[in-house]
């Protein structure tokens, strides 16, 4: 399965990358994130990080399909 991954804000700084393609053996957003972590040492999943798939908010166990676009969001500005 091949998905497109996009990093925002602090995640873009952490990875030095704004988007990349990932060939994944995993099948969920969480598994793809772990794979990205192994590729980018600075990347960490803080508790308030969020994920979206194809411009809809998703969960960390949301299943992915080939061609999906996965958005990794670091914690938002909040307060």
């Amino acid at each position: 399965m091949r998905v497109k991954v996009r990093y925002f804000a602090a995640f873009r700084d952490d990875t030095g990358c704004s988007e990349e393609f990932v060939d994944s053996a995993g099948s969920t957003t969480g598994e793809v994130f772990e794979q990205c972590r192994s590729r980018h040492q600075g990347l960490h999943r803080h508790q308030a990080s969020m994920v979206a798939v194809n411009d809809e908010m998703a969960q960390w166990d949301t299943p992915l399909a080939d061609g999906d676009e996965v958005l990794f969001f670091p914690p938002v500005a909040g307060g």
């Binding site: 925002f8 411009d55 670091p74 500005a77």
Partner: protein
């Protein structure tokens, strides 16, 4: 008609408020989030907001719908600015028109609270020292990391 909008220019507050007029409403509450000159003791020179617009707009509209349904107010709208902005500039505005002030205050508060935690919007503070830093909400920062 979009009621949640994103702009990269100065927010047009006059036009925003004119859009909230409603002859059936006796109460109007507006919240403005402005760039302040300090955070946690550090002097701030300017702010930068990064907004992932497609999802911010979708989720923003959803929050406005929730406020209308929950509080029975007549009109609700919000606008968020992205990019760099200086001190005292308005980064976000929320407006609510209602028959009475109880529900206008409650709905306005609900909207800004939800916008702040649910929208894909990130804030970078640029300090007088020359440094810049992404800022998370304190609740999130104090929570433990997951990995």
């Amino acid at each position: 008609m979009n009621r949640f909008t994103v702009t990269h220019d100065t927010i047009a507050l006059d036009a925003f408020r004119r859009g909230m007029d409603d002859p059936s409403c006796g109460a109007y509450v507006q919240f403005e989030g402005r760039v302040r000159n300090h955070n946690e003791g550090q002097p701030v020179l300017r702010l930068e907001y990064e907004i992932y617009e497609p999802l911010a707009v979708k989720e923003g509209e959803r929050i406005l719908d929730e406020a209308l349904a929950r509080y029975g107010v007549e009109k609700a709208a919000a606008e968020h600015r992205g990019g760099l902005m200086g001190l005292e500039e308005v980064a976000v505005v929320v407006g609510v028109s209602a028959a009475h002030r109880d529900e206008a205050f409650a709905a306005c508060r609900y909207i800004i609270d939800e916008l702040k935690i649910r929208l894909p919007i990130w804030k970078k503070e640029h300090y007088a020292s020359g440094e810049a830093r992404w800022v998370n909400c304190q609740r999130c920062a104090s929570a433990h990391d997951q990995g």
